[in-house]
C-alpha cells in the first residue's frame, strides 16, 4: 500500500491496509513513495498487488507513470494495480483501460476490496 505524491490524506490507506492484514494477507505499508520507490519496493518484495491511495486529484499522472515504469521493468503482467481514494466514477473506464484492475471511490467497503484480491490473486 503506497501513497504516491505528497498529499497527506492518510485515513483511507490505513483503514484498507488494516482490513487486508486482518484478512490474513501480508501487507507492506509504504507510506509516501515516488513511483520509482513504489516500483522498486514491489519488485524487491515480489508483491502480487500494489494498492495506490490517491486523494489529490492527480490519479492519472501518478498511475500512468507507475504503469510505464512497471512495464519498462517487465513486471506489469505479474502485478495487479488497485486504486483507492477520491477518484471520480467518470475516470474509472479510462483508468481500467490504462491497466488498473479496479478502483475504489468514496463509500467503498473494505470487505469488497478484500474479496476482490482473494478472488483475483491466485496463490
Amino acid at each position: 500500500m503506497s501513497k504516491p505524491g505528497i498529499d497527506g490524506h492518510w485515513r483511507g490507506g490505513i483503514v484498507v491496509s488494516r482490513a487486508i492484514r486482518d484478512a490474513g494477507m501480508e501487507l507492506i505499508f509504504g507510506g509516501f513513495q515516488n513511483v520509482q520507490q513504489i516500483a522498486e519496493a514491489a519488485i524487491q518484495e515480489d508483491v502480487d498487488v500494489i494498492g495506490l491511495s490517491i486523494h489529490s486529484g492527480a490519479h492519472f499522472a501518478y498511475t500512468q507513470k507507475l504503469l510505464d515504469l512497471l512495464k519498462e521493468r517487465g513486471v506489469l503482467d505479474n502485478i495487479m494495480i488497485l486504486l483507492g481514494g477520491v477518484i471520480p466514477a467518470k475516470d474509472f473506464a479510462k483508468l481500467k483501460e490504462m491497466g488498473v484492475a479496479n478502483i475504489y471511490g468514496p463509500g467503498s467497503m473494505t470487505s469488497d476490496i478484500v474479496e476482490f484480491i482473494q478472488t483475483h490473486v491466485k496463490k
Binding site: 489529490s56 486529484g57 468514496p106 463509500g107 470487505s111
Partner: protein, 557 residues
C-alpha cells in the same frame, strides 16, 4: 436549579411514567450519542444539576456557556467564510470575488499539498499536485495575485497553513500588504498554524519533528501578538475539525485542542509572556458533525471548559482571555459521493448546529465535497445554505435558544466532564509534541477510525446511499477539475521571480536564517526579510529541514 420539594414530586411522577414506558417496546437501536454517551428516553428538571449562575449564566459573562459576547447574533451574524482555493492564485481570486459579491463576509485560503509541505512546483515528487487540492502559494508574487482588488483591510482573511510553512507563507502575505501600503498592525485575519493538522490530520511530507513545529507555531504567535507586529491577527486556530474528520469523537476533538492549546500557552509563558498578553487572540476551529444535540452541547461545554482552564489553571485576569471563540466547518466525512444532493440537506442541518451553538464563523461544505474541490455552483449553494439560516429562519432572534432544555443542559455537563477526563489522559503522556513523537496520538487516531469504519460497515452507523438504500457510485454529479496548466503557470511564476531577485542578498539572509534556526531564536523577523527578497516557501523550509531534520511520523495501522 429547582426547589427540593418540587423535585421530589417530580421524581414520583417520573417513576410512574417509567413504569408505563417499560411496558412499551423500544426500537432495536443503540440509544447513544456519536461519542457513545448513553442517552435516556426522557430528560426532566431532575437531570439538571448545579446552580444557574455557575453553570449557565449570561452571554458575555463567565462561565460563557451561552456565548462569548453579550449580544451574539443580535449584534451581528457569524462570518460566512468558505474555505476555497484551486488551480492558481488568479483563479482563486476570481472565486473569492464571486463569493464576496454573493454575500460572503470572510475569506479563507485553502492551499495545495505543495504549499502545505513547503515544496516548490519544480520538485518532481509533488508537481502533479500543483493546484489540485487548493491554491498554490509558493512565493510573494502568488500572494499579490491572490488578493488583487480584495479589500484585505476590511475583510478578514484566513491563511490555512500549518507551523512548518506558517512563517514563509504568512510573511509573504504581510510583506505583500506592506508593499501595497497597508499598515500590518491593523490587519485582521487568522493563520491556522495547528501542529496536529499536519501530523495527525494529514501525514506530513518531509516536515520537521514535532518539538520544532511547536516552537515554530509559538514563534508566530509571539511575533504577531505580544510583540505587537500584527496584534489583531489570530495567530493560531486549534483545528479540532481536521482530526475529527479522521474519525475521533467530539470528546477527543475537544481533548486534543485543549491539550494542544495548553502546550502552546506553556511555551509562551516560558518565553516570559503573561497569559493576558496573548491568549485572547488564540482561536478555535471545530467540526459540526452528525449528532445534532451532541455537537451543540460540545460548543457550549467548550466555552465553559476554556473559561475554567484560563481562570483556574492560568489565573487569567482579562475577561477577554476567558472567551472561547470558534469557527466551524460542517463535516466533510459525513458527505457522500452517492446521492450528492442529499449533502445539501446534511450540510444545512450541520450548519444549524453551529449557529444554535453560537459559532463566530462558519464554512458550509459543497454538495460535491466527496469527489472534488467545489464547483462554482456547489460553492454558491453552500453559501446560500448559511444565508437561509441567517436570513430566513429567525433562529437568531434570541441568544443560545436551546439553553434550559433539560437534555441540552444535561448533555453539556456530560460532555464537559468527559473532556476533562480525556485531557488528563493526554497530559499524562506529556506535552502535545510528546504525544505525537511517542506515537500515542497516532494510536488514538487509528483506534478511532477503525471503530468508525466498523460502525459503518456493520450498518450500526447509517450513511444513506452507501450502507442504507445504496446507489451506485456512477450516479455522481459533475466533477469540477482544476486547471491542468497550473504546473506550467506556477513554474513560470517562480522562474520569473528568481530572475528578478537579488540572489546574493537573499543568500546572505538565508544564511542568517540558518544561524537563527541553530540558536532556536524566533524565525519570524528573518523569514520576513527573506520572503520580501523573494525567497520561496521551499527555500525557507529547506533550511528547517537542514537544521531541524526531517521527521517520519510513527504511523499506526
Amino acid at each position: 436549579m429547582f426547589d427540593k420539594n418540587y423535585l421530589y414530586k417530580l421524581e414520583l411522577k417520573k417513576q410512574e411514567w417509567e413504569e408505563k414506558y417499560k411496558k412499551l417496546k423500544e426500537r432495536d437501536a443503540k440509544f447513544v450519542t456519536d461519542s457513545e454517551i448513553p442517552i435516556k428516553p426522557l430528560y426532566t428538571p431532575l437531570d439538571v444539576k448545579g446552580d444557574y449562575f455557575e453553570k449557565v449564566g449570561f452571554p458575555g459573562e463567565p462561565p460563557y456557556t451561552r456565548g462569548p459576547y453579550p449580544n451574539m447574533y443580535r449584534g451581528r451574524h457569524w462570518t460566512m467564510r468558505l474555505f476555497s482555493g484551486h488551480g492558481t492564485p488568479e483563479e482563486t481570486n476570481k472565486r473569492w470575488k464571486y463569493l464576496y459579491e454573493n454575500g460572503e463576509t470572510g475569506f479563507s485560503a485553502a492551499v495545495d499539498a505543495l504549499t502545505f509541505n513547503g515544496i516548490d512546483p519544480t520538485n518532481p515528487d509533488g508537481a502533479p499536485e500543483v493546484g489540485t487540492s487548493g491554491v498554490p502559494l509558493y512565493c510573494i508574487d502568488s500572494l499579490f495575485a491572490l488578493t488583487e482588488n480584495i479589500p484585505i483591510d476590511k475583510v478578514s482573511v484566513a491563511l490555512v497553513v500549518e507551523p512548518f510553512t506558517c512563517a514563509p507563507v504568512c510573511s509573504m502575505y504581510f510583506n505583500m500588504a506592506k508593499m501595497r501600503g497597508y499598515d500590518i498592525s491593523q490587519l485582521i485575519g487568522t493563520t491556522q498554524n495547528d501542529i496536529l493538522t499536519m501530523t495527525v490530520g494529514y501525514i506530513p511530507y518531509k516536515n520537521s519533528p514535532p518539538n520544532h513545529l511547536l516552537r515554530l507555531a509559538c514563534d508566530f504567535i509571539e511575533w504577531t501578538v505580544p510583540m505587537k507586529n500584527v496584534p489583531k491577527w489570530h495567530p493560531i486556530n486549534f483545528t479540532g475539525y481536521n482530526y475529527r474528520e479522521g474519525g475521533i469523537d467530539a470528546i477527543q476533538e475537544l481533548g486534543f485542542v485543549f491539550a494542544s492549546a495548553c502546550s502552546h500557552i506553556d511555551n509562551l509563558i516560558e518565553r516570559g509572556w503573561k497569559i493576558d498578553d496573548f491568549v485572547n487572540r488564540l482561536a478555535f476551529h471545530l467540526a459540526a458533525h452528525k449528532d445534532f444535540f451532541e455537537e451543540i452541547a460540545k460548543y457550549r461545554a467548550a466555552r465553559r471548559i476554556w473559561a475554567k482552564l484560563m481562570k483556574d489553571r492560568y489565573n487569567a485576569q482579562d475577561t477577554r482571555s476567558l472567551q472561547f471563540r470558534f469557527h466551524v466547518q460542517t463535516a466533510g466525512s459525513s458527505l457522500t459521493a452517492q446521492l450528492p444532493m442529499i449533502n445539501i440537506v446534511r450540510t444545512a442541518i450541520q450548519g444549524l448546529e453551529a449557529n444554535l451553538g453560537g459559532c463566530q464563523s462558519l464554512h458550509t461544505n459543497s454538495y460535491d465535497e466527496a469527489i472534488c474541490l467545489p464547483s462554482e455552483e456547489a460553492a454558491l449553494v453552500a453559501l446560500r445554505t448559511q444565508q437561509v439560516i441567517s436570513d430566513e429562519t429567525r433562529i437568531t432572534n434570541t441568544i443560545d435558544p436551546l439553553a434550559g432544555s433539560y437534555y441540552i443542559e444535561w448533555l453539556t455537563d456530560e460532555v464537559e466532564e468527559r473532556v476533562w477526563k480525556y485531557m488528563d489522559k493526554i497530559e499524562k503522556v506529556g506535552t502535545i509534541d510528546k504525544a505525537l513523537s511517542t506515537g500515542w496520538l497516532y494510536k488514538e487516531m487509528r483506534d478511532a477510525f477503525h471503530k468508525r469504519r466498523m460502525r459503518l460497515e456493520s450498518g450500526e452507523e447509517t450513511m444513506l446511499g452507501v450502507n442504507k438504500y445504496p446507489v451506485s457510485y456512477d450516479t455522481v454529479t459533475d466533477v469540477f477539475r482544476t486547471n491542468e496548466k497550473a504546473i506550467e503557470i506556477e513554474v513560470n511564476r517562480i522562474m520569473k521571480l528568481k530572475e528578478r531577485r537579488d540572489n546574493a542578498k537573499l543568500e546572505r539572509i538565508l544564511d542568517k536564517l540558518r544561524n537563527v534556526c541553530e540558536k532556536e531564536e524566533n524565525v519570524m523577523p528573518t523569514v520576513m526579510e527573506a520572503t520580501k527578497e523573494g525567497a520561496t516557501v521551499q527555500e525557507v523550509c529547506d533550511i528547517y529541514r537542514e537544521i531541524y531534520g526531517i521527521w517520519e511520523p510513527p504511523l499506526a495501522i
